[in-house]
């Protein structure tokens, strides 16, 4: 996913704890997100979900599969 691109989450992998945390922060299957930026090749990713900006570590971000628009 490139910066400034919109997408819809189509899959989230990872343990139950992480899934729950994602869920409570509004990251769930079918949700639209916008990628804002990423730092470096294997660095954190900033995304916009609803009205909040979240930063995810690289391997956490990897667990979210997004379908671009």
């Amino acid at each position: 996913m490139k910066a400034k691109q919109r997408g819809i989450i189509c899959e989230i992998s990872g343990g139950l704890g992480l899934q729950n945390k994602f869920m409570s922060m509004g990251i769930y299957k079918g949700r639209e997100i916008i990628k804002i930026s990423h730092i470096g090749l294997r660095g954190p990713v900033a995304i916009k979900v609803g009205r909040s900006v979240l930063v995810l570590g690289h391997s956490v971000a990897n667990k979210i599969v997004v379908e671009g628009q």
């Binding site: 729950n20 409570s24 509004g26 730092i39 660095g43 954190p44 900033a46 930063v55 956490v60």
Partner: protein
């Protein structure tokens, strides 16, 4: 009858500000998630009854993900439902995300009042909310508030008795979000606005290049401002007061007591060339207050002023993102930069703030790196005093050596400490204009904390040194350690006293080096060694409380080893 009120809400919605408003208890609040790591309690009068108010650490849901959230949830479950009320503090600018927790609270059958906080900011963001409609949908009182100015707080308390548990359908996670979606459609209206300068800055701050530029800029400017304010407070206020008003009094006292008496030695200390020297006399009324108020306090004030600004604007979580990559090599993630920066003020709150890190391994690495590689303001102020007379080169040298130790030790710990390090997952708050009142309260609280914590220790430290010097008891153990200190570190044997003192209180320890008239190289090595060892007795205590005896011993052994290696390396490398 309500006996307890719980403040519950997402991170960084202003729970602590509401708490201060309700109870009058001042607590520290900032613009980042996780400022409050302890559960705060206070009291307020409701009618004519005393009610306990409990400020819980921020949480996104009632399914706890970290230690502090777990405690919060269990406290909620323990209290009988007819004796409690929950004030659910909600960020009006981001109702959607906040409602998830609200629905969970309602589903759990808790009596809830919603405080739509930061309603003034929502207006600026072009968000308008229909409070009445929301109240009808949820079936509980909903009150717009602005905790910083106090708007709506009174109404909140007036209506808290109206609330009662509402029967709600138990949703699955997905259904809850669907429900929220439909609520939002009904109550929230957005007016479209053009991008403001702030939004452009917010955007730039999370992009790689512009973000790094902003981050480095903020850090450099902060350091300069801290130094500028600190130096001016010393030169224009503290020093003149001590020299022009305080010294004449002491001179009278000195001649009254007579130079030879034990009491004179105790309160005034030794006269240097027949005069009182605030830095060298080592008396309870001379050196002790001078170190505390004229050398350290000015920097405490300037540091915490600047830190408060940086915190409230919302820069720290952005630094966390920028430094995430680097900190991964040290077994940490970006958020660990926040405890580290707090540690630059005082290691104690720094180590407490490691509670925001999820795993034990991360907490151990962060706490160890803070204790060893992060000098507190008191120590830094004294290092300026000690090394400033040689050249700025030595002062920056200390920082460079510490940074190198910090990186090398972090990489080693990352490869040796067992356990897992979780990943960064944090919300970036909007930039906010700091409120002067909040800034001032925070500064006041932190200075008060410093004085209460440090003043008795400094006094005790100076007293101990003074008495030991008088009875010449130091010679005993200077003899034992002298070979190490002289042979490996190239320091005179008297420096042993200061190094040992350093485990108790750093500012006193550096103060004791000043009378020794060390060379530039010796001062530099001594300063580095003191910076490496744990800042003070209080740090030992928190470390023990937070991580236990085993980890404290591990960290202390690491510290001794690092000090030994660094001291000898510097001694043989510098000529």
């Amino acid at each position: 009858m309500i006996k307890k009120i719980f403040l519950v809400g997402n991170p960084n919605v202003g729970k602590s500000v509401v708490f201060s408003r309700l109870t009058g208890v001042r607590v520290i609040s900032s613009n980042y998630a996780g400022t409050t790591v302890e559960i705060m309690r206070g009291f307020l009068k409701l009618g004519n009854q005393e009610v306990e108010v409990v400020d819980l650490p921020g949480t996104y849901s009632l399914e706890p993900a970290s230690k502090s959230e777990e405690v919060a949830v269990s406290l909620l479950n323990e209290c009988p439902k007819d004796e409690m009320a929950v004030i659910n503090i909600v960020d009006s600018t981001n109702l959607e995300r906040n409602l998830y927790l609200t629905l969970q609270l309602l589903e759990a059958g808790l009596p809830v009042v919603v405080s739509l906080n930061m309603c003034d900011e929502a207006k600026h963001h072009g968000v308008s909310l229909e409070t009445d409609k929301l109240e009808k949908i949820l079936g509980i009182p909903v009150i717009p508030t602005c905790a910083i100015t106090g708007l709506g707080i009174k109404l909140l308390l007036e209506r808290i008795n109206e609330t009662k548990p509402v029967l709600r359908h138990q949703f699955s996670h997905r259904q809850r979000w669907q429900e929220i979606g439909s609520i939002i459609e009904q109550v929230q209206h957005l007016t479209h606005r053009h991008h403001t300068l702030r939004e452009i800055l917010e955007d730039a701050s999370v992009r790689p290049f512009s973000g790094a530029l902003i981050g480095i800029g903020v850090i450099l400017v902060s350091f300069q401002v801290v130094r500028f304010i600190g130096e001016n407070l010393i030169n224009r206020i503290a020093d003149p007061i001590f020299l022009n008003f305080y010294q004449p009094l002491l001179v009278k006292l000195s001649s009254f007591l007579g130079e030879e008496s034990f009491i004179h030695h105790l309160v005034i200390g030794d006269l240097i060339n027949g005069r009182i020297d605030f830095k060298q006399s080592l008396g309870l009324l001379t050196t002790a207050p001078y170190i505390e108020f004229a050398m350290v306090l000015p920097y405490i004030i300037s540091f915490y002023f600047v830190l408060g600004l940086v915190e409230d604007i919302g820069i720290l979580p952005r630094l966390a993102m920028l430094l995430d990559n680097l900190l991964h090599h040290l077994g940490l993630h970006g958020f660990a930069i926040i405890p580290v920066l707090l540690g630059l003020g005082c290691n104690v709150p720094g180590i407490l703030a490691t509670r925001n890190l999820e795993s034990r391994r991360e907490r151990f690495i962060a706490a160890t790196l803070i204790s060893i590689g992060v000098p507190c303001v008191a120590l830094q102020a004294m290092i300026f005093g000690l090394l400033g007379r040689f050249s700025g080169f030595y002062v920056s040298g200390v920082y460079l050596v510490l940074l190198a130790i910090w990186l090398v030790l972090g990489i080693i710990l990352n490869h040796t400490v067992k356990g897992y390090s979780p990943e960064l997952l944090v919300e970036i708050p909007p930039f906010r204009l700091p409120s002067l009142a909040t800034l001032w309260h925070k500064l006041f609280l932190r200075i008060k904390g410093f004085l209460i914590e440090a003043a008795p220790l400094v006094l005790l430290g100076v007293l101990a040194v003074n008495v030991l010097l008088y009875f010449k008891l130091f010679d005993l153990f200077t003899g034992i350690f002298a070979p190490v200190v002289r042979g490996l570190f190239g320091l005179p044997k008297e420096a042993v006293v200061s190094l040992v003192m350093g485990l108790f209180r750093k500012d006193v320890a550096v103060g004791m080096l000043i009378p020794l008239a060390l060379s530039a190289k010796q001062s530099f090595i001594a300063a580095v060694l003191l910076a490496i060892s744990f800042p003070c007795v209080a740090t030992f205590i928190v470390f023990f409380k937070e991580l236990g005896l085993k980890d404290l011993i591990k960290a202390s052994l690491i510290m001794f080893f690092v000090a030994l290696v660094t001291g000898s390396l510097l001694n043989f490398a510098i000529r």
